[in-house]
């Protein structure tokens, strides 16, 4: 796989299993809705991937609907819940540090008459649970939250949140965006009382253009796409069979990597990064180690713009990102860093290192050296 690639939270390199599965599926090009044998073999591909996905989360196959991406899963969960429960209540809750596919879905609903609460976080990005308790009412129909924040790696206490919601309003839906955490941090969807959860294939070495939505048995939401009734009416449109085949194959690949390298593998690489950067007085870590996901390390170099540090590392062959890939075209400070109270000069210097099972300890050591050298080099030319 491509070496020195540390932008795995933006996207990952498709693994060999995924590429093989995609090629196979491309040759068996039938439409799963067709009645003939080609349709049936395409349908079997969907069944098989759905089963692998369900097994990886220890839930039933029928809970999963394939979508085109994490954004679509988030939109379906949020907007689908809001419209289904409109007569019960129009209050929805999320946090200030969500991915734009959640925040902008909330903004849309606000423009349509819903009222929204955006929960505060502490400096590590951990959500304010007291505020959650205070905000929940009998009119609240949805709480949406990412398991792992995509920019700084904060892990939210999903089980605790799930219990709070259950105690205060058992009919309120709990949606968890698992796009960043899937295959990195275990989650017990049942124990955490999760009603809806989003997944994406290209973050786990599958292909772009494929995602999934988990819907807990007994939970009902409206579909937001209308058409031929594929995916049991939840997501009309001819299925992306090849992408779904690759999704299943990629899950198998991840499982094999985890059993080969051990469940603590990413954590050990992550510790190398934290050990090295905690010692540097010109580098600040955006999230404390004990609440940070094992594959995301967000740092800020003093007096250096993140973009410049990124390009300096790129020159040495290392690929990282600034904040998150989606927001790097905008000049503004990321909403996540604003919510965590990061000062502007620190926020401007942030880069994100994100790991995958394909990264090696040698690569991480080389990256640490490269970061230290780059920061030292750039500090000579501090902008006055």
């Amino acid at each position: 796989m491509k070496s020195n690639y540390f932008d795995n939270s933006a996207t990952t390199e498709p693994c060999d299993y995924a590429i093989e599965a995609m090629l196979d599926a491309a040759k068996n090009f039938g439409n799963p809705s067709s009645l003939h044998s080609m349709g049936i073999s395409a349908e079997n591909i969907l069944k098989s991937s759905r089963k692998i996905l369900a097994q990886s989360l220890k839930v039933e196959d029928k809970c999963f609907y394939f979508t085109s991406c994490g954004t679509e899963s988030n939109n379906t969960a949020i907007i689908g819940t809001a419209y289904r429960k409109k007569s019960i209540g129009t209050h929805i809750i999320t946090t200030k540090i969500e991915h734009p596919s959640v925040l902008n879905a909330f903004k849309f609903l606000e423009s349509q008459g819903w009222s929204a609460t955006y929960l505060d976080t502490d400096k590590n990005g951990r959500v304010d649970l007291d505020m959650l308790k205070r905000s929940l009412t009998s009119k609240t129909v949805l709480v949406s939250m990412a398991h792992v924040n995509n920019e700084i790696g904060t892990v939210q206490p999903i089980e605790e949140v799930g219990n709070i919601i259950k105690q205060s309003n058992p009919r309120c839906h709990f949606h968890v965006d698992c796009v960043q955490s899937y295959m990195k941090i275990p989650i017990d969807l049942k124990k955490a009382n999760v009603s809806l959860a989003s997944f994406s294939a290209h973050k786990i070495h599958g292909f772009k253009g494929c995602g999934a939505l988990y819907v807990q048995p007994g939970v009902n939401i409206d579909n937001i796409i209308y058409g031929g009734g594929q995916e049991r009416g939840m997501r009309s449109g001819t299925e992306n069979v090849a992408g779904i085949a690759a999704f299943g194959a990629a899950i198998r690949w991840n499982n094999e990597e985890i059993s080969k390298k051990g469940i603590g593998y990413l954590g050990s690489l992550h510790d190398m990064l934290y050990d090295a950067f905690e010692e540097c007085d010109n580098i600040t870590l955006m999230c404390e180690r004990n609440v940070c996901a094992p594959h995301i390390c967000s740092i800020s170099a003093r007096n250096t713009r993140g973009e410049v540090l990124l390009h300096t590392l790129e020159k040495e062959g290392f690929f990282v990102s600034t904040g998150s890939a989606c927001s790097s075209h905008k000049r503004n400070i990321s909403h996540v860093l604003q919510a965590t109270g990061t000062p502007r000069d620190v926020a401007e210097g942030v880069i994100r290192i994100s790991l995958s099972y394909s990264n090696t300890p040698e690569e991480v050591r080389a990256l640490i050296e490269a970061v230290k050298n780059a920061v030292r080099e750039l500090e000579q030319y501090i902008q006055k």
């Binding site: 000579q380 030319y381 902008q383």
Partner: protein, 390 residues
């Protein structure tokens, strides 16, 4: 297509003995723009080119050539023999189409006839009277003549063959690109410099471009953006090369060694020196920039004097007395504006001082510059040159 396209040129026609050269250049540019299209026939006549095709539609050809400098207009015409009967018939048919298109009950019209074929039995005014009557007889309830303010003007050219003009597209004029030698334009990625390149090309200059970056302080996306600008300029400027040069070391050195307020003006001087050298090495006779007086600190008259001092080639500034809004309007018209406003940092804003010198004095700037090993820095920068084409 059943019609013929007449591409006319203006200013070239006034040239004396050099006219064949300009015509040849324009013909070459038209052929380049139509390269890759099958079944096109181009015939040269005095003051015009006739373009016909059995394969391509009129609009495909017009879109490909309407932005070529040197062409003043393109007419879509039907071609018929110069015989009175045939002209009568066709004129009635064409006028009928116009009347249907306009859809009014009564239409005032005027017939403009240019007779250059002296063998044709009527003079231009006589022919206008004669064929005018033919049309009045054909559409007696609809048409009336108004030679001063007509709703409909029908143009007829009676030459060896006769052309009845169905529509006329006004083009950009100017001189054919490559008829005025080569020039090097400083292309930053902003709004102004592509417009400067457009104007240089309009006067027939064969454009080469130079772009400066400060990687890692600027991103590769900024470079992609300039390449996109070069592509957007292609219909006007033709095939263009771009030299891309790194200014990182130079800017770092200036930043480390020279007074802060001279950062911008010294950077501009280095850009000019490198441009001067690249221009000479590539046979360019002038440097073009998008500067306009007073727009930013380095574009005051004092600033321009200090940057001019760094080069020996003429520095031409087509936008020098234009307002920003006028420049923006042209950028919108030529299609570079939407690319220019994409938010990627260009190297002028890297290390930008809070208070740049707006009235730099040459002796002080030169004193600041003498703190640097200019020759070595330029030599190193020249080693970073990459070349792109649109």
């Amino acid at each position: 297509m059943n019609t013929i396209l007449i591409a006319k040129y203006g200013e070239i026609f006034l040239k004396g003995q050099n006219r064949p050269f300009f015509e040849k250049t324009l013909l070459h540019n038209i052929r380049m723009a139509l390269k890759g299209m099958d079944g096109i026939d181009i015939r040269k006549e005095v003051g015009r080119f006739y373009i016909t095709s059995d394969v391509q539609t009129e609009d495909t050809i017009i879109d490909a050539i309407k932005n070529i400098f040197g062409i003043t207009s393109i007419s879509v015409a039907c071609k018929i023999p110069s015989e009175t009967d045939t002209i009568e018939q066709k004129l009635i048919e064409v006028a009928g189409n116009f009347i249907n298109d306009l859809g009014n009950d009564r239409i005032t019209f005027k017939l403009e006839i240019k007779r250059t074929n002296k063998l044709f039995p009527m003079s231009s005014p006589d022919a206008a009277k004669y064929f005018g009557k033919v049309l009045l007889d054909a559409y007696p309830d609809v048409l009336t003549v108004d030679v001063h303010n007509p709703q409909l003007t029908i143009n007829v050219e009676i030459r060896d063959e006769t052309f009845i003009i169905e529509r006329n597209i006004k083009c950009l004029g100017g001189m054919p690109v490559s008829s005025s030698g080569k020039g090097l334009v400083l292309l930053s990625g902003g709004i102004d410099s592509p417009v400067a390149a457009y104007f240089a090309a309009k006067r027939g200059v064969d454009i080469e471009a130079i772009h400066f970056h400060s990687y890692p302080y600027t991103s590769d996306r900024a470079k992609e953006k300039v390449i996109d600008l070069l592509k957007a300029l292609k219909p006007y400027c033709g095939r263009t090369r771009m030299f891309v040069v790194s200014l990182t070391e130079i800017q770092r050195e200036i930043h480390a060694k020279c007074p802060e307020e001279y950062m911008t003006i010294l950077t501009r001087r280095f850009m000019m020196k490198i441009a001067d050298r690249v221009a000479k090495e590539n046979n360019c006779k002038a440097i073009f920039t998008g500067e306009s007086i007073g727009q930013v600190a380095s574009q005051t008259l004092d600033g321009l004097a200090v940057t001019n001092n760094a080069v020996s080639l003429p520095v031409l500034r087509p936008l020098i007395c234009m307002d920003k809004q006028e420049i923006v309007d042209i950028a919108v018209k030529i299609g570079t504006h939407d690319i220019s406003i994409l938010p990627f940092e260009d190297c002028c804003t890297v290390f930008q001082p809070k208070h740049p010198a707006t009235k730099p004095q040459l002796d002080k700037v030169l004193a600041a510059e003498s703190l640097l090993d200019c020759d070595a820095l330029i030599e190193n920068a020249m080693k970073t040159v990459e070349i792109y084409t649109n």
